[in-house]
Symmetry: C2
Subunit: 179 residues, 2 copies
C-alpha cells in the first residue's frame, strides 16, 4: 500500500468561534511537495432517530441560516467539551423532543464532509419513550413533528429529506432493523 499520510509542517489559526475553529495548515504530501489544507475544526455531535410506540419518528423543523430555508432533521446536537456522545444524545432528546428513552442502539458514526470539515457524528436509535416535557432554550425555534417511519424512509430515499445525518440514520435503521 502506498503511504498516503500528510505531515503537518505549519498550522495557522484563522478564526476561533463559539462552535468552529478554522485553520490553514501546510502539509508535506507523500511525494515530498507542500500543500495547504483549509480545515474547520468542530467538536462533533450526535443525531437521534427517535421512534414512538406507533413507529413514528420525531423530526425537528428549523431554520438553517446557511441555506436560508427550513430543513426537517432528526433531533441532534453538538457535544460539550469532554462529553460522551451518549450523554449528549440523552440531553438533546430531553431538550428538543421532551422525552427520555429506555432503549438505545447505535446506528454507527458518520463523517458529514471529510474534505475540510472536521465534524464526526454519532448516530443512535432511541425507543421506549417517556414524556418529560420539551426544554428548549428561549432562542431555539423548532417545530416538532411525528412522522410515520415508512413515510420518512421514503422521503429520505427520494431526496425530499436531504439532511445527511437524517438520511444516514433512517436508511441504516431501515436496512439493519427491517423497520
Amino acid at each position: 500500500m502506498i503511504d498516503m499520510m500528510e505531515q503537518m509542517v505549519e498550522t495557522h489559526e484563522k478564526f476561533r468561534g463559539r462552535i468552529i475553529r478554522v485553520k490553514e495548515d501546510v502539509v508535506i504530501l507523500p511525494n515530498g511537495k507542500e500543500a495547504r489544507r483549509e480545515i474547520v475544526e468542530h467538536p462533533g455531535g450526535v443525531g437521534i432517530l427517535v421512534l414512538d410506540g406507533q413507529n413514528r419518528a420525531a423530526l425537528v423543523k428549523q431554520y438553517r441560516y446557511a441555506f436560508t430555508r427550513c430543513l426537517r432533521e432528526i433531533p441532534a446536537g453538538k457535544m460539550e467539551p469532554g462529553e460522551e456522545p451518549e450523554v449528549t444524545a440523552r440531553r438533546e432528546l430531553r431538550e428538543e423532543v421532551g422525552v427520555e428513552a429506555a432503549q438505545w442502539a447505535s446506528l454507527g458514526r458518520m463523517i458529514p464532509s471529510p474534505g475540510c470539515y472536521g465534524e464526526m457524528l454519532h448516530l443512535y436509535l432511541a425507543r421506549g419513550l417517556t414524556p418529560v416535557g420539551q426544554q428548549l432554550d428561549e432562542d431555539e425555534f423548532l417545530q416538532l413533528e411525528w412522522v410515520p417511519f415508512e413515510i420518512l424512509k421514503q422521503a429520505c430515499l427520494e431526496g425530499t429529506v436531504i439532511d445527511g445525518k437524517t438520511v444516514t440514520a433512517v436508511l441504516r435503521a431501515a436496512g439493519l432493523l427491517d423497520l
Copy 2:
C-alpha cells in the same frame, strides 16, 4: 406556522481560502433578539456512485487530513464557479476513475451538515462505463478499488463506511433501484 426566518443585520468575513469562506453574521431571531451565526461557505459538490457491468462500485481511498486517517468514499469533487453539477460529475468521473458513463441518474441532493457548513451535494448514479484513463493531478493521491455493491451496501449499513455522501448515495440506490 410560526415564521422561523432569521434576518441578517451584520456580516463579517473571517477567512477567505481557496475552497471555503468563513463569516460571522449577526441575525435577528423570530423573537426579535440578536444572535450570532458562524457560517462556512462552500461552492458545493457532487458524489457519484459508479457501477460497472458486474455491479461493482468504484471507491476511492484517500488520506483525509482533518481526521488523520484514510477514508473510503465514492468519487466526488467540488463545483467550479458557475459549473453545473452534471458537468462536475462527468469531470470527476474521468479524473478519479478514468471512465465515462453512458447512463446517468440522479440520487438526489444531500446537505452534509446544515448547522454551520454551507455545502450542498448533488448525488448521481453512473453506469454504462467506457474506460478513458485516470487523470489525477500530480498532487492527488487516491487508491481506486472496485467493490461488489452488496458488500459496499452492507459496509454503509454497519458503519464501516462512514462518509456521509457515500452512505447516502449507496443506500438511496439500494432502496430506489433494488440493487
